[in-house]
């Protein structure tokens, strides 16, 4: 499940910084990462440390967007909490998808809308409350951000 802590919290990692010095090549062979990469960055993994971006041409993993780098960190290191504020609204459906597969905890410091993202179920850590509809989510989230 996707667990969200709203507002500032000590120890939430900055995804792009963590990614830059810690990513592993084998992560890019994961089909979910390939899907996220195509959807968000319009890019495709070619092997080694080569990614082909429709926009930028051949790029190394360090030039993926900060949002995608953070999503990859959240997915591949569920033992850590990352600051998902680096993720734009186009990452929302992927955060939920990761949460459907594994338990992850993220920090959000802005209101990320999850409208039209399919089956919705998250736990708000601040209130230790599981919610499954967008209205409840909005009311709780806006108390904190």
């Amino acid at each position: 499940m996707l667990n969200i802590y709203f507002g500032e919290i000590e120890g939430a990692m900055h995804g792009p910084s963590w990614f830059r010095f810690n990513f592993r090549e084998e992560w890019f062979e994961d089909p979910l990462i390939a899907e996220m990469m195509e959807d968000i960055d319009k890019s495709h993994y070619k092997g080694g440390q080569l990614i082909e971006s429709d926009v930028l041409g051949p790029i190394p993993p360090e030039r993926l967007s900060g949002g995608l780098q953070t999503l990859i960190c959240i997915y591949k290191r569920p033992d850590l909490m990352f600051n998902a504020t680096s993720c734009g609204e186009n990452c929302a459906k992927w955060l939920l998808e990761i949460g459907r597969r594994i338990d992850v905890s993220v920090n959000l410091r802005y209101y990320m809308p999850f409208d039209n993202c399919g089956d919705f179920k998250v736990r708000i850590i601040n209130e230790d409350k599981k919610i499954n509809n967008i209205d409840d989510y909005m009311h709780i989230a806006l108390k904190y951000v």
């Binding site: 971006s53 429709d54 926009v55 734009g88 609204e89 186009n90 802005y110 951000v145």
Partner: protein, 149 residues
């Protein structure tokens, strides 16, 4: 500093063209729209100038704050009549102290952040996203512009 400033940042493959109208401009929006790339281009230009292959058109200096966070105050007070770009994840921009310091400077500020800036009096009209115009397939040149959110 007053008035609108028209900025063009360009390489052989990328072009950003936009106006900065007020002392505080916020850029936010989806991931992978080119926010960080814009800052990296300006950073590269301020380090290597024209030799970098980045072309910058602006009637005032465009600078990027980067590096040691503890020096932000000195940096803001040192820049004068400039447009200061600050990439996301610098937490000092949310502080009351930052709001107080920049009110006393002559600069315009472009802040890249999704997090609300409760201490800063910025206009909702000056919140922008970046979008690509036209086709964007490598190796064609990519044109980016600001749009109001």
């Amino acid at each position: 500093m007053k008035n609108k400033h028209h900025i063009v940042v360009e390489t052989e493959r990328l072009k950003y063209e936009f106006d900065i109208r007020r002392n505080i401009t916020v850029i936010q929006g989806d991931s992978a729209t080119g926010k960080t790339t814009l800052v990296q281009l300006l950073e590269t230009y301020s380090r290597y100038g024209k030799d970098s292959g980045v072309r910058l058109q602006s009637d005032v200096p465009c600078v990027v704050f980067g590096g040691d966070t503890s020096l932000w105050k000195v940096a803001m007070e040192t820049y004068q009549n400039s447009i200061v770009f600050i990439d996301e994840d610098y937490s000092f921009i949310y502080s009351k102290e930052f709001a107080d310091v920049i009110q006393g400077t002559s600069n315009y500020y472009v802040l890249i952040t999704r997090q609300p800036l409760y201490n800063l009096p910025y206009s909702v009209k000056e919140i922008y996203g970046i979008r690509t115009t036209g086709k964007y397939h490598y190796p064609e040149k990519i044109y980016n512009e600001f749009y109001r959110i």
